[in-house]
């Protein structure tokens, strides 16, 4: 497992994807932080994070698209799956590599609230609580992107499908609000609310540490992880 983790992590920085991802992430977060925290002088870093959620569905597909699709395209999955490692371990190694590449810009971002303390009082607990939720949400999207990558042979297709699915998840609250209440509409609405990944973030943005949302995110990570394992296993049977 560690062999796959190290190889995948290194490969992000062999082919520039890792650098591009980190650079864009930092540019966008830096831009919003300049606007909210420096120009308008809000002391809440949560506002910045809340405003930058949209970069997930632009940047995460770039990171995850190659994960399994590229292996399948270049037939290197034959090496992984004929080696004495289980599919669970292969998927875990790959997922942890994705998470590590994602955490690099996060480590840089983690210094921003500290920077703000130079200029006045900052509620650090709220800021870091929010950052934790931000990272967990990112990890949900990484798991989702990895799962979609495992379904196809083409990294480009994986990127576009991930982008589409994540976009729908972002728009889910607006989509749900279009459905009338009561009867079948109410049932549909509550089903759709399961997929409102971003609305779990609202309380964090308001400075509240919401444990149910944390559990909700971790559940999604486990679901997509398990789905990825299943999709790789299933491929052998057909």
């Amino acid at each position: 497992m560690s062999a796959i983790y190290i190889r995948d992590f290194k490969s992000f920085f062999h082919n520039m994807m890792g650098y591009v991802f980190a650079a864009f992430f930092l540019v966008v977060v830096g831009f919003y932080m300049t606007a909210y925290n420096l120009v308008y002088a809000y002391s809440q870093f949560e506002y910045t994070l809340n405003a930058t959620l949209f970069i997930f569905f632009i940047l995460i597909p770039i990171l995850t698209m190659r994960s399994f699709a590229e292996e399948r395209k270049s037939k290197t999955d034959q090496l992984l799956l004929t080696s004495p490692v289980t599919v669970t371990q292969v998927v875990l190694g790959k997922y942890l590599a994705l998470v590590s590449a994602f955490l690099i810009p996060m480590v840089v971002i983690a210094f921003y609230p500290l920077l703000l303390t130079q200029f006045g009082d900052v509620n650090l607990k709220a800021a870091y609580g929010c950052l934790i939720a931000f990272i967990l949400m990112g990890m949900v999207f990484l798991a989702l992107g990895m799962f979609i990558s495992s379904l196809t042979e083409s990294p480009i297709a994986a990127a576009f499908i991930s982008f589409g699915v994540m976009l729908v998840m972002f728009l889910m609250p607006s989509i749900a609000s279009l459905i009338p209440d009561g009867g079948l509409g109410g049932v549909l609405k509550s089903i759709l609310s399961w997929f409102q990944i971003t609305s779990g973030f609202d309380s964090f943005a308001g400075g509240i540490f919401d444990l149910t949302s944390i559990v909700y995110y971790i559940s999604w990570i486990i679901v997509f992880y398990a789905l990825t394992v299943q999709s790789i296993q299933k491929r052998r049977w057909c």
Binding site: S2, A3, I4, I6, R7, S11, H14, N15, S74, K75, T76, D77, Q78, L79, L80, L81, T82, S83, P84, V85, T86, R236, W237, C238
Partner: protein, 317 residues
């Protein structure tokens, strides 16, 4: 030892492998032979655990590939049709990755890599990026990867496809050398290759095993036709008249020869008897000089076609 029992692999309605059973004994070189699409790669992918069979079982050294995949996979080194190489890695990096993946103890990795690079003579490209390597070297790196951990069984899927003649000879030499220490299964659609390298040939056609023979048996089969080929300086009519009168000739076929004023004839003697001397004296009497005469050997290709065509006819019937 590999035991394959009643292996079936279906892709939708298409049956790629059809109730295949065979046993691969230790210490021999086996060749899977068959036309494209005969199910060679699919069978190999099932043995190595990359694909799962629809029916039937494969056990490697007593470990079932589905029930104890890790144990079974440890004793197999696999070189797929397209070597599974990461183009953005260097050869050394790649082999180290593969060695760790195969759970070779850390302190032995360096020694193992040295051994396999020497065995496949890729020391010179150790630091090169894999994408800059030629097809032949990529094949070698793939083979080196399969050799890591010194597995008892090597499975090589069309190891010589796409190589130039010199590389083909080198890889064959290497396989023959490896066959001394390992059980080797290779696949090919080139008969001469299989008969040159392998001890045992398994012929597949439409997912079925149509023949399982040692290379010698296959060779003997090619001598068995008993037909005689002859080039005679005589007109076709004259020659036909002579042969009609000979009791020991069951059947013959006369074709115009490339040589001037000559006829080529293929004679099928009664009871496959060797009647070359009788033919010689008879032709001499008739003053028809024999320019060439030989026992006809059916080429391996003929036998191969015969075996695989038979199967097709059976299917139709």
């Amino acid at each position: 030892m590999i035991e394959i029992k009643n292996l079936v692999k279906r892709y939708g309605k298409h049956v790629a492998v059809d109730h295949l059973s065979c046993t691969i004994e230790d210490g021999q070189i086996y060749g899977f032979l068959g036309p494209n699409g005969a199910g060679k790669s699919t069978t190999m992918n099932i043995i190595t655990g990359y694909l799962a069979a629809s029916e039937g079982t494969v056990s490697v050294n007593g470990h079932d590939i589905l029930e104890e995949p890790e144990e079974a996979k440890k004793s197999i080194g696999y070189l797929p049709e397209i070597p599974p190489l990461y183009m953005d890695m260097r050869v050394g990096e790649y082999l180290e990755f593969a060695a760790r993946l195969k759970k070779i103890p850390k302190d032995k990795i360096e020694k193992e890599i040295k051994r396999v690079t020497k065995e496949t003579s890729i020391e010179d490209v150790y630091r090169s990026l894999i994408k800059t390597l030629s097809k032949g070297f990529r094949q070698r790196v793939g083979l080196a990867c399969a050799l890591l951990g010194d597995p008892g069984i090597l499975i090589l899927d069309e190891p010589t496809v796409g190589l130039d003649p010199k590389q083909i000879i080198e890889i064959r030499e290497l396989i023959r050398h490896l066959g001394k220490k390992h059980t080797v299964i290779l696949s090919s659609h080139i008969l001469s290759e299989v008969s040159a390298v392998c001890d045992h040939v398994l012929i597949l056609s439409h997912g079925k095993l149509v023949a399982s023979e040692t290379t010698e048996e296959l060779g003997r089969r090619s001598d068995a036709s008993g037909e005689i080929e002859m080039t005679v300086r005589a007109a076709k009519r004259h020659l036909a008249m002579i042969l009609d009168c000979m009791d020991s000739v069951k059947d013959y076929r006369i074709e115009p020869s490339e040589e001037a004023d000559c006829s080529d004839v293929i004679i099928d003697p009664v009871n496959k008897e060797d009647i070359r001397e009788r033919l010689f004296y008879r032709m001499a009497e008739e003053k028809c000089p024999i320019l060439a005469m030989s026992l006809k050997k059916s080429s391996l290709e003929d036998i191969f076609l015969e075996l695989t065509e038979n199967d097709k006819e059976e299917q139709k019937a």
